[in-house]
């Protein structure tokens, strides 16, 4: 028996032509073109080498990831922080990333270095997160952008990120099962975007106008208009302060941190609300509606972020509510002081743990009758 002859006939499955050569050639040509551009810039770049080495040493150089690899640890940590792990009282949410199931879905040699598209499922959808290797944002964490959709539909996003003074425009998305070909239109011109599995990932040098997908028969499956970047669209009017801000509450929180709540009338008829202290960046906004007479408009605010932040209950109550109280898992009840209908209350650090957490707010009228309740988000989740 000639086992080598038998092996010669053996195949796992047919190696059907799938545009592999064209796909590889286009990736290689992109790499060659980048190499040529880089060589032209080499002379100028020399003076920056020392700084680059310092930066590289500080952040560590990221590995060579290939499709199917799990993301680097720092990316996993960043993905986890987009979910409940960034909360002072963490509770599971459907949109939490299933980080352990995250994988590299596509790799791109962009004009500013390697870029990765990670496929990250959550309880509701599948998401694609894009990271240009080495790019970092708030607190040095990986600067990432994401798009989510159903596994049955085509979904995508175009992200625009300034890198070294250059605006990098990346298209990332996933095609539905029936899609055979994805094209991006630039006005009258159309360019095919290769599929990596079901994912597509490309750098766009011009402004795209539409994304069109086709089935195996060449028929259009769907067509999505790509809108102009925000810089070219007249911004929608945003609510803004329409009067002088005034202080409505002040507390002395742990470590004697003085925290102040200021409110101002907003242009949309609601309120602008700002919480500030001398130790942290202010937090708040101008989309705070006035609560109805029997409504509790007080919400949890993670002031300063986990893990060192302060958990506050901030907002106002409707005009029929005279007193407000906070109820805890262990049966305790604490009054929440109101000033002109506004509340600013610190949840003690010791009460962040399960078994002691606050779970709901209750409002009473002047006769002491309970007329409104509101469950806090971690209690709503059953957590």
């Amino acid at each position: 028996m000639d086992e080598l002859a038998l092996l010669g006939e053996f195949r796992l499955e047919d190696a059907a032509p799938n545009g592999a050569r064209e796909h590889a050639r286009s990736r290689l040509r992109a790499a060659v073109a980048r190499h040529r551009r880089r060589r032209r810039r080499e002379l100028v770049a020399v003076v920056f080498v020392a700084a680059a080495i310092v930066a590289g040493a500080a952040y560590g150089v990221v590995r060579e990831l290939v499709i199917g690899d799990p993301p680097p640890e720092e990316v996993k940590r960043a993905l986890a922080r987009f979910g409940h792990e960034a909360e002072l009282i963490p509770y599971p949410r459907p949109e939490d990333s299933r980080v352990e199931d995250a994988r590299v879905a596509a790799v791109l040699e962009s004009s500013v270095g390697p870029a990765y598209l990670f496929s990250v499922p959550n309880a509701r959808a599948l998401c694609g997160w894009v990271w240009i290797e080495g790019q970092r944002g708030y607190q040095g964490r990986p600067d990432m952008s994401g798009v989510c959709g159903s596994s049955r539909e085509t979904f995508f996003a175009v992200s625009r990120q300034p890198v070294d003074g250059q605006l990098v425009q990346l298209l990332a998305g996933k095609a539905s099962d029936e899609v055979e070909r994805v094209t991006v239109r630039f006005g009258e011109r159309a360019v095919d975007i290769p599929l990596t599995g079901r994912w597509f990932f490309a750098e766009l040098a011009e402004e795209p106008t539409a994304l069109v997908t086709y089935n195996v028969a060449g028929r259009v499956v769907d067509e999505h208009e790509i809108r102009l970047p925000p810089s070219q669209i007249a911004p929608a009017p945003q609510p803004h302060p329409a009067g002088q801000a005034r202080k409505v509450a002040e507390i002395s929180a742990r470590d004697s941190e003085v925290i102040v709540l200021e409110v101002a009338p907003a242009s949309d008829g609601g309120y602008c609300m700002t919480v500030h202290s001398d130790r942290r960046r202010p937090n708040g906004g101008c989309s705070v509606p006035k609560p109805r007479p029997r409504e509790i408009g007080v919400s949890a605010m993670n002031f300063g972020g986990a893990p060192g932040g302060v958990l506050l209950l901030v907002g106002s109550v409707g005009s029929d509510i005279a007193t407000l109280e906070l109820r805890y898992e262990n049966g305790r009840v604490a009054p929440v002081p109101l000033g002109e209908g506004w509340a600013l209350f610190e949840v003690e650090h010791a009460d962040y743990v399960e078994g002691r957490r606050p779970v709901s707010l209750a409002g009473r009228d002047t006769s002491g009758r309970e007329i409104a309740t509101k469950r806090l988000p971690w209690a709503k989740a059953g957590g």
Binding site: L7, G8, L12, A15, A24, L28
Partner: protein, 160 residues
């Protein structure tokens, strides 16, 4: 190696690399890994040392390193083939047995055997690809062939 020369090298060797990967992992993964093989080779072309062997084993070395991360995929596919109904699939009757025998090899033995049988590499080239001594290639190949042959003969005897 100049960038222009590298494009010629791609045209010469792509089919062999892709075919090898496709036979081991199927066309979808092969498409990505073959492409990745050449972009990595381009990035590392200055480190290519012609004294250590030709271009072909160098490229197969990169491809095989990428393939290592997918041994489990390969084993899953082999395992699925062991349950193949050959009459229904119109496949050669020994295909499930061969799949089982390949799946039972160690990954080192399987690499040597398939680089020899499917990539048509010489012993010395396989040694370069896997960065092992020539003697190791010979012994692994001998063991792998003996194992596959024994598995096929055993099954033949059972079939009666």
């Amino acid at each position: 190696m100049r960038a222009e020369a590298f494009e010629e090298l791609f045209e010469l060797h792509f089919d062999a690399i892709y075919a090898y990967l496709a036979r081991r992992l199927g066309p979808d993964l092969a498409r990505d890994l073959a492409s990745e093989t050449f972009t990595r080779a381009f990035a590392a072309r200055k480190r290519y040392d012609s004294r250590r062997g030709g271009v072909r084993p160098w490229l197969f070395g990169i491809a095989n390193n990428l393939l290592r991360r997918h041994y489990r995929d390969e084993e899953r596919k082999l395992h699925a083939l062991t349950r193949l109904d050959v009459r229904e699939a119109g496949a050669p009757p020994e295909e499930p047995r061969l799949a089982e025998a390949l799946g039972a090899l160690s990954t080192e033995e399987r690499d040597v055997l398939l680089l020899f049988a499917w990539a048509d590499l010489e012993y010395a080239e396989i040694a370069t690809v896997l960065e092992v001594p020539l003697g190791t290639v010979r012994s692994r190949l001998h063991r792998a062939r003996a194992h596959v042959r024994a598995a096929l003969e055993r099954e033949e005897a059972l079939d009666g």
